[in-house]
Amino acid sequence: MTINMFELEPYISRSSPVHRLDARVKLAVVVLYIVVLTSLPLDVHFSWPLAFWGLILLAIWAARLPLGAMLSRSTVALPFALAALALVFTTPGQPLFSVAWGSLHLTATAEGLVRFLSILLKSWLGLQAALILSATTPFTQLLCGLRSLGLPPLLVSMLGFMYRYLFVLVDEVRRMMAARDARSARPDRQAGGTLAWRAKVTGQMAGTLFLRSYERSERIYLAMRARGFDGEIRSAQQLRLQGQDALVAGTSLLILAVVVLSYSVLSPGVF
């Protein structure tokens, strides 16, 4: 039942050109990719999803990651993108269809649909870039990279703690759920209790978990103080840039520049 690192980061120990790259280069490339992607205006040539996804597929191939697993992980973006669903009905423009909901009359527009799809695709693509980053870079190296690229030490150490105690939390959740299952007996095939009650129990479990984590964090802080912690986080890991890192960084910049230029040519006046 205990979680181990393999469950959280199954592809980390693989070997590929991408895995061997310096974490800072990977970070910079991913951030640049996401910035360029999200700043694409709406009236850019319609082939942009293909172009940007092509880059993703190229990276997945270079990193020797399993395409199916990466695709299924990327679906976690969908529920969040659904928040933009309202745009379909609130953007003015050419009406497509109408929906009546009680006293509400909602009209979907073509412009709204384009906006919604654009947000959906951009978040999906951006997430895939981040997923490739996390699948090829051990978290501790990632934190090192973030620190050396300028993220404040406090934030970096918070992320480090989150990672460290994620395993503890997951274990605790699993054991709580196992305890709940163990007391969920159905001697007559008909389980008692209403759905509302079950939802309440789940909510209470989440609350209990939060309280325990909060109290644990206080104990951790006391332990750190006892070992001389003074507020400054110091790390022992060092990153070193190599020749291939510079090559990849340069090439990625070049590719993205080419993409941006092509789209400014294809859709003049847009950039």
Partner: protein, 243 residues
């Protein structure tokens, strides 16, 4: 030949093997029978596989047609029924107590089983009385002392009136008085019990039979008094011998 479960056995394990995800073997072909009404101690060094074995008995860890509880085969379909027959008490009471009040935790099992509110209340009162926690209904579990939490965890299982109790290190961390009270309490309960423990005194006072597990294999199975006076056996398997 298909195995027919014996009606006199509360727990029947026939050839249980289990490996962790990373390949480590936890249990190797374990055979264990516990008769109805028997109280058996399961001893062995840390990492022997005791907890792993216990977690199989209510389906928390998967097994395939090798475990019978009160004559019923443990499989995916029967889990609901099995869990009404066997109650597992984990070594860390915090994992077991997931509700905001003691009352909620003890009432969870009976409510889920579909009992009426009156019956639920009766069960809760009875269970709390058994473990001597009357008046603790509205207390928050994680503000109780370790001994009180262990008793609350026991009550949360007793309220379901299972026929078999499986306990993982019930006396670990208890002070001498707490341990005494626990042994007394367990002695009065009629259920069949399988108790994983390091506590030699508990094993002697409570269990007529002891099974020793080491590296996933059962290395000894016999009367408690005999096993616990065999110093060389105990020392060979990471347990304390009498000096």
């Amino acid at each position: 030949m298909e195995h027919v479960a014996s009606p006199h056995l509360a727990i029947e394990v026939r050839g249980l093997s289990y490996s962790y995800q990373d390949g480590r073997v936890a249990l190797r072909d374990v055979y264990l029978n516990v008769a109805v009404g028997e109280k058996v101690a399961l001893m062995g060094p840390n990492g022997a596989g005791k907890s792993t074995l216990l977690l199989h008995l209510n389906g928390t860890l998967p097994s395939h047609g090798v475990i019978w509880i009160m004559g019923i085969e443990l499989n995916e379909r029967n889990l609901g029924l099995i869990r009404s027959k066997v109650g597992v008490i984990f070594d860390n009471p915090d994992d077991q107590l997931f509700s905001p009040t003691v009352m909620d935790d003890v009432a969870y099992g009976p409510i889920y089983m579909g009992l009426s509110p009156v019956e639920v209340r009766e069960r809760v009162d009875w269970a709390l009385q058994q473990v001597n926690l009357q008046g603790f209904e509205q207390r928050m579990p994680h503000h109780l002392s370790l001994g009180e939490r262990k008793r609350a965890a026991l009550a949360s299982v007793l309220s379901m009136s299972p026929e078999v109790l499986v306990l993982d290190e019930p006396s670990a961390g208890l002070d001498p008085r707490g341990r005494c009270k626990l042994i007394e309490l367990l002695r009065t309960l009629p259920q069949t019990m399988l108790i994983a423990t390091h506590d030699e005194r508990l094993a002697r006072k409570l269990c007529s039979r002891t099974v020793i597990l080491d590296e996933g294999v059962i290395v000894a199975d016999g009367p408690t008094a005999d096993l616990l006076s065999d110093v060389s056996l105990l020392e060979a398997h990471g347990l304390e011998g009498r000096e």
